[in-house]
Amino acid sequence: MAISFVAASSVRVANSNYAQLAHTISSGSDILLLVAIALTTHENRVSSVTWGGTELTQHHEGGENQGDKAWIWVGTIPLDAASGAGTLVVTLTSSVGRWCIGLCEYTGVSQAADPFRNSAVTNSGVNPSYSLATATDSDGLAVSAAALNSGKDATPGDTERVDQASASPTQRIHMMEASGTGSPVTMNASNFADDTFYVWVNCLQVPQNITITPAQAEVVTSASVGTVIEGTDTIIIGRTASVIATARVGAVAVIEPIRADLIMNVTEQ
């Protein structure tokens, strides 16, 4: 089963510490919803992010730790979230002038406790472009979320899913992906108009199958002739579950299998 993009939603926010983003989860299987929040400042942080009253699982938070730069928060909606309409609710520690929220939905993603195959690869800087490499496998899907500051633009080299900008002065959330075709996979964004951005990259993984070939169940068998007695002698054999009858005339043939004692008395009357 391959990982497939389903839908994306986004919203921009001004002068508030609170925002909502509506989204309808599809009826597909093995769904993952990736949420990214871009802030202009590292000082007023994300306080709470919920879906249906349940806190999201945070996967990363970071950015430029100075002034009004790029700051990003990344998380996933609980893996067992039901399909249908719902609302993402985000609360900050304090009001922020310009910020944005992006959400991407994927199907065919491993529902293990950690759906990501690799540790997050992050990058930040003041260069006009960024190029990120993340190790993937052929079944994986590399995804990224970038917080871009102050009216910047990004021309992705791979598949763009969210590009939401706020009002001026611009803060932007940008989410994209690249299919895993080996290691490494490079995700390109170029032609930034000016400086700062902060990017998070990881790799979604498909459900992992297990195939086992257990050792065979083996039974050791044998057939043997025990003691052959002729005449009227009585023989007591110290084996479990043994029943011995004495022959009046004739021979007693004793056959002893491995796990059960079977004694046949052959008598000549």
């Binding site: 089963m1 299987s29 093995d30 893996l79 067992d80 065919g108 491993s110 529902q111 293990a112 498909v206 459900p207 992992q208 199958n209 297990i210 195939t211 086992i212 070939t213 257990p214 050792a215 065979q216 169940a217 083996e218 039974v219 050791v220 068998t221 044998s222 057939a223 043997s224 002739v225």
Partner: protein, 154 residues
Amino acid sequence: MASGITNRGKLRLLEMALDNTWNDSVIDSSPFFIALVTNTPDADDNTFADMTEIAAGNGYTSGGAEAAGRGLGWDTETEDDTNDYGEFQLADIAWTASGGAIPSSGGGATYAVLLDDHATVNSREVIAWFDLTSARSIGDGAQLTLQDLAIRLT
């Protein structure tokens, strides 16, 4: 000359016990079952009541999956004259997790057991056990496959 059982005889004994056939002549077609458990079975165990089954749900049904039945339903039958054994091998058994993980709760499966088809699950007789080497669980959408489960008489 010591007594023994021929490899052909071992195979025929397996046919009679597991396949209810003799030299490919079918007698009946009762199925067997393969179930997943968390305890360690041993030779003294008798019925499924002696086992601790994994939690049911998400694609795993209590009592296990129906396996090859009697009546020419086994995957591979072997008479090995080099290594001196007769062997019956089941077709692959697989479970696909859907709606959640298998097991749905608790620890993963450590053994698979071969059961007869008694109508009451806990009364099913344990015929053999197979070591899965570690506790096994799978996430939603993943598949657990047991390949080449075999009964061998040496």
